[in-house]
């Protein structure tokens, strides 16, 4: 520890004098080529989108607080659910992951920056425009897209002026994701410091490497699907119109061939983050490092052969249903390996409960609940009952909110002291955790009951017997939404008034980023870390 601190400080001093020639003012951000600046922009953008998408969720829960239509026209309600999903998936979660990748990957692999800095700038700056286009659909004739984020034709083709705008926005988001992924892959494969072999890399880097390949594989598929929608609507093709020899179900197959890898794109980096945080606060190396890598790779592979489990009710042949049921069930095996390895990492550790650890632990519990309902959904006959009910809504929100979102928050709480050089208010972070963890369950757990009792998803109004649990869910939703304001406040307070902190913000932290000063120098590893340093940082 003493060694690394001294070394880091020396490295910084030697270079600081002539390295820090970054542009200032607005140019620093618009012309940004620095991985940390771009990472910050990604994270701020994701934060803004999280609140925009969250506002839509609040409006949805407001309308569903009691039966009868109180606030919105049903079509506008459909727009809210559609836009909530698109904003949260493409605007909040994916940019947050890219932001964390930008900040952490160069520091973690011992590189000065990302491999392709201008591409990095471009891939970020596409996003605000994409979402400006997407959000402006609320103000065009016909309103925002209201056919669900899955955009199934023929319904999607009934959209107004917002329809082509949505598709153009999705093309832009896809381009941004592909460029970002190329950058991640090139950085990881080419910019690692000598001695940082693949199997020494931190698991967050591994999870992102595999995620990036998934993105490159499936984003063009989504682009193809939505382009066919576009030509069906405007240029007289009939890809998805049965009357012209097309096939509406083909869209679903293509969409979910993208869509299932996509949901793992949203969760795999979460596995990586949790695998960084649990060893730190259990003060013990990750259990079964190689098994963790292989498990992520297996999950990624399986994600390509399970897509039709999203559409068991379209009328598939028996053999197809059995195939997709069995492949889907297989995912439980590598996922189980991951959960068991995290448990074994906790076992015989020396555990403390700082905010990143609290979020990571609740990830273990609540993601597992989402996993259990996932196994239930894989059982085709039972899925005939669950499909398109609130049970599904509960399932994927458990995986995405206390799963993905909590992991992102855990990551921010983990690395914020590194980024700012200051320790935040741990007590406030703990408050944020407990409020979020309690309300998220009040919000989503009753939705299991609603679904099993027969409430379909994507409806603005419901039969009166669903009132009680909807009210509970809405109260949980408002509580969860309000609690989230603590998060930006805590970050602002940390930047303004945090207490300065050394290289290694957490006692048990290992990894190259903790060898750099806090905050790290503008170009992270101008001089590559030594082999000894890498060996010491990658204990597993």
């Amino acid at each position: 520890m003493a060694y690394s601190a001294v070394h880091g400080a020396v490295a910084h001093d030697a270079h600081a004098a002539h390295d820090d020639h970054k542009p200032h003012g607005w140019r620093r951000w618009v012309y940004a080529t620095n991985h940390k600046d771009i990472g910050t922009m990604y994270l701020v953008f994701a934060g803004i989108m999280f609140f925009v998408g969250g506002t839509m969720a609040m409006l949805i829960r407001l309308e569903l607080f009691k039966p009868g239509l109180q606030f919105f026209d049903p079509l506008f309600f459909n727009s809210l659910t559609t836009m909530h999903a698109l904003i949260m998936i493409f605007g909040a979660v994916m940019p947050a992951w890219t932001g964390l990748a930008n900040w952490q990957i160069p520091m973690q692999v011992g590189a000065p920056d990302m491999a392709l800095p201008r591409l990095n700038n471009f891939s970020f700056w596409i996003l605000p425009f994409a979402f400006l286009i997407l959000l402006s659909t609320f103000f065009v004739p016909g309103g925002a897209p209201a056919g669900g984020w899955t955009m199934y034709p023929p319904l999607m083709l009934q959209g107004g002026a917002g329809f082509p705008m949505t598709i153009f926005a999705i093309h832009l988001m896809g381009a941004s994701s592909i460029l970002g992924s190329m950058n991640v892959i090139v950085t990881i494969l080419n910019m690692r410091a000598p001695g940082m072999t693949l199997l020494r890399m931190p698991l967050f880097v591994w999870s992102w490497l595999i995620t990036a390949y998934l993105l490159i594989a499936v984003m063009p598929v989504l682009a193809g699907a939505v382009t066919m929608l576009l030509t069906d609507h405007f240029f007289g093709t009939t890809f998805f119109t049965a009357a012209g020899g097309g096939d509406p179900v083909m869209f679903q197959h293509i969409f979910w061939f993208f869509g299932h890898p996509e949901v793992y794109i949203l969760i795999l980096p979460a596995f990586g983050i949790v695998s960084e945080i649990i060893p730190t606060f259990a003060r013990k190396p990750i259990f079964g490092y190689e098994a963790m890598v292989y498990a992520i790779a297996s999950i990624a592979f399986l994600s390509f052969i399970v897509w039709a489990h999203h559409m068991f009710t379209v009328g598939m042949p028996l053999a197809g249903q059995l195939f997709f049921m069995l492949t889907t069930m297989l995912i439980a095996i590598p996922t189980g390996v991951k959960v068991f390895n995290w448990c074994a990492t906790l076992w015989k550790g020396s555990i403390t409960f700082e905010p990143p650890m609290l979020f990571a632990i609740s990830f273990l519990f609540l993601f597992s609940i989402g996993g259990f309902s996932g196994v239930m959904l894989a059982i085709v006959p039972a899925d005939f009952q669950y499909q398109d009910t609130y049970f599904v809504v509960a399932h994927f929100h458990y995986v995405l909110v206390p799963g993905t979102i909590f992991a992102i928050m855990a990551g921010v709480y983990y690395w914020l002291p590194k980024w700012t050089g200051k320790m935040y208010d741990l007590k406030l972070g703990t408050w944020h955790f407990w409020l979020s963890a309690i309300f998220v369950n009040v919000l989503f757990f009753p939705q299991h009951f609603l679904g099993l009792a027969g409430m379909p998803r994507r409806i603005p109004d419901y039969a009166v017997q669903f009132t009680d649990w909807n009210m509970v869910s809405s109260i949980g939703g408002f509580g969860f939404g309000l609690s989230q304001f603590l998060f930006p406040y805590l970050i602002w307070k940390c930047i303004q008034h945090g207490t300065p902190i050394g290289n290694r913000a957490w006692e048990g932290a290992h990894g190259l980023e903790w060898e750099l000063p806090s905050p790290p120098p503008f170009h992270s590893w101008e001089t590559p870390p030594t082999e000894a340093m890498i060996a010491q940082a990658s204990v597993h």
């Binding site: 669900g148 020396s350 555990i351």
Partner: protein, 287 residues
């Protein structure tokens, strides 16, 4: 079943002491899937419960392990980390294999039930179901009976934005139609399901199954309601189909074979007469 009933009664009794009706209509007790009224729906319910209890058992073990670790290995209680514990091939193989066996135990009954569900032989009555924006058309193919089924007027009035009508006073709010689908109990009824405009999905939870109504496709679904389960069963469209997706319920009136054939004969005669009088028999009710 017993646990479910006990729990729902407990919840209802605890939270609604004054309410006389301690039955399924009070929402707090609605916690689980219905076993339904067909052989298939009960098989599905059993499968659901089997998988649910397996998940509960796994959760008890895994969460128990986590909670134990979190309590026993706290640094504040002086726990010292055993940093040598990073790998154990034998244990890792075991916890990869155990899930395989559990999954097989789930997959076998699931596959059996699925094969039963897909057995569409020997159906005795065929009804073509067409979903449209926003209602259903039912066509008794062999008997010349055809009618539309839409949200009933009372629900429709109450569900308008700021209608001012207290929806709790509307009988079966949003789950009632003008003309329910009428089928016989104890008969294997086959539905041929399709869509007229966009994709819809036909679902009655008590029958256990749902199937998408896709324009250009004809999907098959069958059910055979127990002879002693005559009654009215309700469901909804479950595929987002536009503005009024939430307002196209499905109501199935299951009658005894005799009552059904009387109804079918009368209705067929009426519709024939109406058609002869040159009034389109299948005109949907206004609104």
């Amino acid at each position: 079943m017993m646990i479910r009933n006990a729990r729902s009664k407990f919840a209802a009794a605890a939270l609604l002491p004054a309410a006389a009706q301690v039955h399924a209509e009070s929402g707090w007790g609605l916690l689980n899937m219905t076993p339904g009224v067909t052989d298939i729906s009960r098989k599905i319910y059993d499968l659901h419960m089997e998988v649910f209890w397996i998940c509960v058992a796994i959760a008890v073990v895994v969460f128990g392990w986590m909670i134990w670790s979190l309590i026993a290995f706290r640094k504040s209680k002086g726990a010292v980390a055993d940093t040598s514990l990073v790998h154990n091939t034998k244990v890792e193989i075991i916890w990869t294999l155990i899930p395989v066996f559990i999954l097989i135990a789930m997959a076998v009954p699931a596959a059996r039930t699925l094969v039963d569900i897909e057995d569409t032989r020997n159906t005795e009555l065929t009804i073509k179901v067409t979903g449209f924006q926003w209602g259903w058309n039912y066509d008794y193919l062999d008997d010349g009976v055809n009618f539309y089924s839409r949200l009933d007027r009372q629900s429709d009035a109450a569900r308008q934005l700021l209608s001012g009508i207290d929806v709790t006073t509307v009988p079966h709010y949003l789950l009632n139609v003008d003309h329910p689908l009428i089928v016989p109990a104890g008969v294997k009824v086959r539905l041929l399901i399709t869509g007229a405009d966009v994709i819809h999905s036909w679902w009655v939870p008590a029958f256990g199954l749902k199937k998408d109504a896709i324009p250009g496709f004809i999907n098959e679904l069958w059910f055979n309601v127990d002879t002693d389960k005559v009654g009215v069963y309700r469901g909804q469209c479950v595929e987002l189909c536009g503005r009024d997706h939430g307002f196209m319920p499905i109501v199935v009136d299951v009658r005894s074979k005799e009552d059904f054939s009387t109804w079918l004969k009368t209705t067929a005669a009426q519709q024939k007469q109406a058609a002869a009088a040159n009034a389109p028999a299948a005109t949907p009710p206004a609104g």
